[in-house]
């Protein structure tokens, strides 16, 4: 175990809209730098809400969130934007910007509204497109490219934001096998070389198992279990949470559990 102080600590966080039913109840975990934490769970288990609470869009009704050992409430949204970036599940852009202009918007937290951007902002945006293999899309209109291409552009935008913590909501949903593979490699590299930390929601349990260092299994707003993929993905947990009895096998190369129906 490393002695790095955690980048993110969630303490007893609950969330409900206007005191109705709790969508999240008593969530506790912490995250060290360079870790990829996967969130899995059935529909309506609170995965996206948890991501929104962490990114500061929703305020928890109970508990506290510490980002780099400081309460998230002390951060303005301008400041949060310099630490956390988010790749949303679905993206709809109101006006027909070019893809490169969308990527460039990732630099907004750093751009003075009076002085304007610098050459460095352009360089970082371009670098982010190169990393996500989306440089060839840069002149395309964002409303006219496919869902998977748009996801790569939004990933590039999130990287251009140079975050310390990257939040992903189902970022592979529209990606084909090739780009799934390349995006995973990209993220692995960013985790190891740039000290990025990632929290990602997965619907695909097998991908979650391959990609994540640890997994959180959410069930009705509570953490059913948190641990390595080997610990979390067992037939007892899956049957309890998803209500089906799948077959689990071991991935021959990676030695992580894989779920087959």
């Amino acid at each position: 175990m490393s002695f790095h102080s955690p980048i993110l600590t969630i303490k007893g966080v609950s969330f409900s809209y206007n005191h109705h039913r709790e969508i999240l109840s008593d969530i506790n975990f912490s995250l060290s730098r360079g870790e990829l934490l996967g969130i899995i769970g059935p529909n309506g288990s609170g995965k996206t809400t948890l991501l929104k609470v962490i990114s500061g869009i929703l305020k928890p009704s109970k508990g506290s969130i510490l980002l780099l050992n400081q309460d998230l409430n002390n951060f303005s949204i301008e400041k949060i934007a310099k630490f956390i970036s988010v790749v949303p599940q679905d993206t709809w852009v109101a006006f027909n910007f070019k893809a490169k202009e969308v990527v460039f918007m990732g630099r907004l937290p750093y751009i003075s509204r009076l002085k304007g951007e610098t050459l460095e902002d352009y360089r970082i945006s371009r670098e982010a497109m190169k990393k996500t293999h989306s440089l060839s899309l840069s002149e395309n209109n964002i409303q006219e490219i496919s869902g998977g291409e748009r996801q790569r552009i939004f990933m590039a935008k999130a990287l251009a934001q140079t975050p310390q913590l990257l939040l992903l909501d189902e970022f592979t949903s529209h990606l084909d096998l090739k780009y799934k593979y390349e995006m995973l490699n990209l993220l692995k590299k960013a985790l190891q070389e740039e000290g990025l930390t990632i929290i990602s929601i997965f619907h695909d349990l097998n991908l979650a198992s391959i990609a994540s260092d640890r997994l959180i299994l959410l069930n009705e707003g509570r953490i059913e279990q948190i641990g390595t993929p080997q610990e979390v993905l067992n037939s007892e947990n899956l049957q309890k949470v998803y209500g089906v009895k799948p077959i689990l096998i071991n991935h021959p190369d990676l030695n992580v559990p894989q779920v087959i129906m």
Binding site: S85, P88, A94, K100, V102, F104, M105, Y122, R123
Partner: protein, 346 residues
């Protein structure tokens, strides 16, 4: 070596230099406004030779009557049209931005209906009491606009939804309420009906230097403030949450644009009445021509709006001269086919 360093470094990363684009556009647009103004100065009921107009611009003491026509009638109208066009098109573009809705126009958030109700009450009072209130109509209109601004603000605060839908619904609701009251006034009116309808359709014929001096500062300062929110408006195009993730306080941004835009519109509309279509279509044309980046799109809208309205007002004066067609009808009659043509070409 020295040359490659000087070679506009901002273009190296594949990003075009938007400042250069902006400066060129402002230069071109200003020349365009100037050119169109000079040409339109020649049209009118009384024909004055262009040569004479040109010399009257430099020296107004040559011919008293013609100097009066050029300096007190035609020039104020052209400048009023310029300022009104700038205001309507810029605010239209900014409102489309905060509402993330290309169908929004400067009147959608209720301020115009308030102004119209104020003006109609003023007109009705004038006929009912016999006092001459025509010169106070802008005050009536402005007070009405401020009332609607306040009501929209209050209702959007009460509204459960914190995103742009709340503001939009509040604006639409107040619009309907005030329009209904205007309809009641129109139904009850007799002789005053004509003045009311003319006000509702927009009219630049009462333009004079005093009115211009009153609206210039609010329009120029207001539009500059809107231009400074361009990057935040860009972020908002990605969506409410996306903009928050980029550090843009969307709630504050929306209220800021709503207030600045509404005050600009209230000031202008109080003097000109409701000139439609400009604020809806000009931002679209600007987007088709130079793209959606608000940093260039809003200034482009301002310039195009000015040129468009100068031309429309000249047509309004000329088509059935010596009578006039309301300019609001001209903007739609000319603008709609032009817009459809541009859409098809795209």
């Amino acid at each position: 070596m020295k040359f490659s360093i000087n070679k506009s470094p901002k273009e190296i990363a594949g990003y075009t230099n938007w400042q250069k684009k902006l400066i060129l556009m402002i230069l071109g647009g200003s020349l365009g406004i100037l050119g169109v103004s000079l040409i339109c100065l020649n049209f009118g009921v009384v024909s004055i030779h262009p040569k004479e107009i040109f010399s009257l611009i430099w020296n107004s003491s040559l011919d008293k009557t013609n100097s009066l026509i050029v300096w007190q009638l035609r020039a104020p109208r052209i400048i009023m049209a310029t300022l009104t066009g700038i205001a309507l098109a810029t605010v239209g573009g900014a409102f489309q931005g905060i509402l993330r809705n290309p169908l929004a126009d400067p009147y959608i958030l209720g301020v115009s209906a308030g102004a119209a109700l104020g003006a109609c009450i003023g007109i009705a009072l004038q006929y009912a009491t016999g006092y001459y209130l025509a010169s106070y109509l802008p005050l009536f209109a402005f007070l009405g606009a401020m009332l609607s601004l306040y009501l929209v603000y209050l209702s959007s605060k009460i509204s459960y939804s914190v995103n742009s839908t709340g503001l939009l619904l509040a604006g639409v609701a107040i619009n309907f309420l005030f329009s209904a009251l205007i309809t009641v006034l129109l139904a009850l009116s007799k002789r005053e009906l004509h003045s009311m309808i003319f006000w509702l359709m927009g009219d630049l014929s009462t333009a004079d230097w005093k009115k211009i001096s009153l609206i210039t500062l609010p329009v120029i300062i207001g539009c500059l403030l809107l231009f400074f929110s361009s990057l935040d408006l860009n972020a908002l195009s990605l969506g409410e949450e996306e903009a928050l993730h980029l550090g843009v306080n969307t709630g504050k941004l929306r209220m800021r644009i709503f207030f600045i835009g509404s005050i600009i519109i209230a000031t202008v509309v109080s003097f000109t009445g409701l000139i439609g279509f400009v604020g809806l279509i000009i931002p679209h044309i600007a987007r088709l021509l130079i793209g959606p980046d608000h940093r260039v799109m809003l200034p482009a809208s301002a310039l195009l709006g000015a040129i468009f309205l100068i031309l429309c007002d000249t047509l309004a004066r000329m088509v059935i001269s010596p009578s006039e067609i309301p300019i609001g009808a001209i903007t739609a009659l000319v603008g709609a086919p032009m817009f459809i043509y541009l859409l098809r070409r795209k």
